[in-house]
Symmetry: C2
Subunit: 236 residues, 2 copies
DNA sequence: TCAAAAGTGTTTCTCGTACACCCATGT
DNA sequence: ACATGGGTGTACGAGAAACACTTTTGA
């Protein structure tokens, strides 16, 4: 007996299909605190509740036009929801959530993504066209969210915590030039623990030696002694 | 102006929807070689070509019945394609591939998963009901696959390579009891590099001290000196 | 001059890597 | 007896962790 494979039979074209959405967990670090962008819903269900920004993937009307890729959908939604231009934020696919009844109206499968927005760009987001309904929310005071969005946020936090130590994603959460302390605060915000200043400095030094970061001109004004500033080196 | 969010408007229910499939990259290690399970397609498009096993997510016909979860769909397909009972293999979501025209007939978004099958169970798979069209294929001799399946396989390999060193997934690719050398060969197959025997032994010893693995009764017969056997300890 | 934050030094432990060597067993 | 693979020892270096210390600045 031959088993079904992903394109067994063209009659499958008539089978019921789910709606497919992208949802975004958009992180930034403000005031040494990890925050995500929430949207207040204007329609039922969950009207008035907070939720993750997102939208449906644009699918063409059939064979001739198949629409946008899911990556394109995620980038487009990120741009629409934040007002930031493409490439201003780091975007990565997280997980696809597809439990039945996660949306009471119909079957919706949601491809979740997370994005990292630099703190110097974060204020521009709330000042954007959707200001009234969008807000940066500290994880410590996260409200109950619509649908399974709390679960999605939880998954995103676990992902970023696991990734920050071995992938250069922390640089997406600091300004273009940054001090040792500023980068350390990003790590502390994400891991929600304090780091030894001296030890982190040595770790920073290794990144400097590897060429991952380099010193930038100028100094950062602080409450006391001005600090040297560095920049991320995308090559090597 | 209010922005679109994932459930803005119920009129969205009438928008065109994509078909949603699950595709599986099923790994095992046979003869110190990392292999994946391929299916030979019986229908167009790509008839006769090799492809990943998979199938469509079952979506109910609307509001009342919304069908199975995507996790359920992946487990079901794994069971159907391999004949192995639930829980016999490790299964984890990989990435969702959704480029337009990846299937020429219609818009298909595929949620890819990878599975790890123990080598003692792998022979049962090819002996299953779909034997004529299923085959374990060495990665070194992977043929061109249908659709974007080569790309999916590539992504799966990168994932498992990155994960084996910090997550206890190697134990899903050895028999219930295993020797130090057997576990080492799994690492070597996945990373495609040789490991120092002495050093790997020390690493193994640490896992033993941590309680991650424990000694099992009996010895494994080899070409020379019989080796001690161990088992994975799922607790702690 | 004092607090605050930048920046340095020291010590200890764990772990990865390289490499040499001994031991038990089947042929 | 000898090859094969199991099992052990040693030495070096990178890096995580704990903690004490010095230096530079603004107020």
């Amino acid at each position: 007996m031959m088993k079904t494979d992903s394109t067994k039979d063209t009659s499958i074209e008539r089978f019921p299909r789910p709606a497919v959405a992208v949802d975004l967990v958009i992180f930034t670090v403000l005031d040494t605190d990890l925050k995500i962008l929430l949207i207040q819903r204007g329609q039922a269900p969950h009207e008035g509740d907070w939720a993750l920004p997102g939208g449906f993937v644009r699918v063409g009307d059939g064979v001739i036009e198949q629409g946008e890729s899911v990556e394109e959908a995620a980038h487009r939604e990120l741009e629409e929801e934040t007002g930031l231009p493409r490439g201003a934020a780091y975007l990565e696919q997280l997980y696809t959530f597809g439990d039945p009844y996660r949306d009471p109206r119909m079957r919706v499968i949601s491809i979740a993504w997370y994005a990292l927005v630099r703190p110097d760009l974060a204020p521009l987001v709330t000042a954007g066209s959707d200001a009234a309904a969008a807000s940066w929310c500290s994880l410590s005071e996260l409200p109950p969210l619509a649908f399974d969005h709390n679960h999605i946020v939880q998954t995103a936090i676990e992902r970023i915590r696991g990734k920050i130590d071995y992938a250069p994603v922390a640089f997406e959460l600091v300004p273009p030039t940054f001090t040792v302390a500023e980068l350390r605060q990003v790590f502390e915000a994400i891991h929600a623990t304090a780091y030894d200043r001296g030890n982190f400095r040595r770790r920073f030094k290794r990144m400097l030696d590897n060429g991952l970061i380099e010193q930038a001109p100028g100094k950062r004004q602080t409450a006391s002694k001005p600090a040297r500033v560095y920049r991320f080196n995308r090559r090597h």
